[in-house]
Amino acid sequence: MSLLYLRNRLLNLLLVIWIAATINFITPRLAPGDPINAIFARLESQGQVIANSAQIIDLYRERFGLDLPLWQQYLRYLGSVLTLDLGYSLSYFPATVSELVMRALPWTVGLLLTTTLLSFVLAVLLGALFVWRGTPRSVHLIGWVLVGISAIPYYLLAIVLIFIFAFTLNIFPAGGVTRIGNVASGLSWSSVWDTLYYSTLPALSILLASIGGSALGMRGMMVTVLGEDYLLLAEAKGLPERWIFLRYAVRNAILPQVTGLAISLGHVVSGAILVEVLFSYPGMGYILIDAIRGADYTTVQGITFLLVVSVAVAVFIIDVINPWLDPRILYGKR
């Protein structure tokens, strides 16, 4: 791998993050008014009387640096972004956005990382088996049922799952992440089991909704690859079927799927918003919705920024891996 290629990709990554941060900085400032005034106006409209409001507003403006010229604000902002200081949450004031995020992130990443990877593996396998001779009928049947289910939006699927498994059959909990009172018990077998148990339904709704679509994509690629001359030659070479399947067919058909996987991994930090809301799952999606509802701009901005960074990093990683997966993609050459 050429260092030049790596350097270019890295510069590209930093550029994307810088642009995203800048847009993130500019957008709220384009809106008329001033956040502190807005808060006071809201409080006053609710009938509260605040003495010395003008002074307090000035104090806060100074404290948040809003009295500085725009370019100084911008530099301060970039500095704090670099140190991952996303500021205070407006709704949960003494708490910082980073604190909120750190509390929610493990839940979301745990749920979405697992489901995204699992969905990728299952979809690739299923899509490949769809077009392979000798695939048992039962696999075809399961596959087509999953493709059918994938037409249902995942939040609708979540509601159906809650209805069937939580309310009617009462096997799984309808929401939350642990039994009440089990939060602070630390890492133990029972708490791990608890977490798995509570995240089964959310995970299932995401999996069921996503496998079918990606499996169809994989199937399409497999059909294309199976028509290639090199598959014919592989068979003529007398290779065992399993080799041809894995090293020739799947190996080539998987390339676009891997790119897709990287991008969805980048989206992991933003959470599966509707699923988290429906299952009251305390992940990123949940606090994002909460922040939007509560006009908690700093939190919304912070999460948006994290999302951009994680997608950019995922794309960077795929850029680095891709030439290794597909040697036709060249390193550093124009």
Partner: protein
């Protein structure tokens, strides 16, 4: 090289390496069966170079695909036998057929450009055939063998480390040739091996193929539609038309005196520098094989057709150096020209 090969022209008359008997292959479509290969019989001797020519869609590729038993649905082998080294490959169990492929019959595919796996190094693509057939399993021996194979087609050893997209078209084709000889097969099938190359490269690749074939001591079936190329390379020639083999013979006598009107038409269409124009083209188009014409399949386009051609399928008749299926060669057929027969009632 530690093996020594007998000289190319061995005096003994061995049994054929490939013997095809009454082979019938159909493509089953909703509209009916496309009769892609109809009752084809011929044989190829060890070390022989056999050419197979015919227009696009006449069944050449369908035919040779069957020699590897790789006919895919909707294609179905309806009848006939394919004896490879005396063994009927159509009757072999699946796993044994897999072992026969490449070790006894190898393929140099039509589209060499796309016949190599784009994400595997040349080395690994040659190695997997050796490993799959259990020939060589140790890394050092494998490397040595691959370098030797590449040297056969005059490629440097470093090519082994390259990916297909880093090779030129001619190099890819040479890799395919090297690959085909990896297990020293008794029969090499080359399906239009030079069709995607320019004339200079074509010549080099053809020479390479002929040399390697002689070195390995394999028979060669060369498929193509370039009569000029065939004349230079093959010993015997088979002419296919609309799924049937219409004439087989040694290449010199066939060029000197083609017996079947279709062979004559094919040779007549060769351009010549002395007459700078397209020479006699064959009128019309080949028939749809879903409902081939009755009698001789060539009769609608045949300038010499007689009444019998329309009604009776011609027999196989001996010629000097081979055979042909044409009523004109049959002394028992009354030779009333077709035009005269059509003209008679109305006149």
């Amino acid at each position: 090289m530690n093996q020594s090969y007998p000289p190319p022209t061995s005096p003994t008359i061995p049994k054929p390496i490939l013997q095809v008997e009454g082979l019938v292959i159909h493509y089953e479509t909703p509209r009916g069966a496309v009769q892609a290969v109809s009752d084809v019989s011929f044989s190829v001797q060890p070390r022989e170079r056999f050419g197979l020519v015919g227009e696009s869609g006449c069944g050449k590729s369908t035919l040779v695909t069957a020699f590897l038993r790789m006919t895919k649905p909707p294609g179905v082998i309806k009848a006939g036998r394919i004896l490879l080294n005396g063994v009927d490959i159509l009757a072999l169990p699946k796993n044994e057929m897999r072992r026969v492929r490449w070790s006894q019959v190898a393929l140099i595919p039509q589209g060499a450009m796309n016949s190599l796996n784009p994400v595997m190094r040349v080395r690994d693509q040659i190695a997997d055939a050796l490993v799959a057939h259990g020939v060589i399993l140790n890394q050092a021996a494998l490397t040595a063998r691959i370098e030797e194979l590449l040297a056969r087609v005059e490629l440097p050893a470093r090519v082994a480390r390259l990916y297909p997209h880093e090779l030129s078209g001619g190099m890819k084709q040479r890799v395919c040739i090297a690959m085909a000889t990896a297990l020293e097969p008794k029969l090499i099938i080359a399906d239009e091996p030079t069709s995607a190359l320019d004339v200079v490269t074509q010549r080099a690749v053809m020479e390479m193929l002929a040399n390697v074939q002689e070195m390995v001591g394999a028979a060669l079936i060369l498929i193509g539609h370039d009569m000029g190329l065939m004349a230079q390379v093959v010993d015997r020639l088979g002419v296919m038309y609309a799924g049937e083999l219409v004439e087989v013979g040694d290449v010199t006598s066939m060029f000197k005196s083609p017996q079947h009107p279709y062979t004559r038409a094919l040779l007549g269409s060769l351009p010549s520098p002395r007459e700078r124009k397209v020479r006699r083209a064959i009128g019309g188009l080949p028939p749809a094989l879903i409902a081939p014409p009755p009698g001789c399949r060539f009769h609608p386009r045949c300038p010499e057709a007689i009444v019998a051609c329309r009604e009776v399928a011609p027999r196989r008749l001996e010629t000097t150096g081979g055979w042909a299926t044409c009523h004109l060669l049959d002394p028992t057929q009354a030779s009333q020209p077709l035009e005269a027969a059509d003209a008679a009632p109305s006149a």
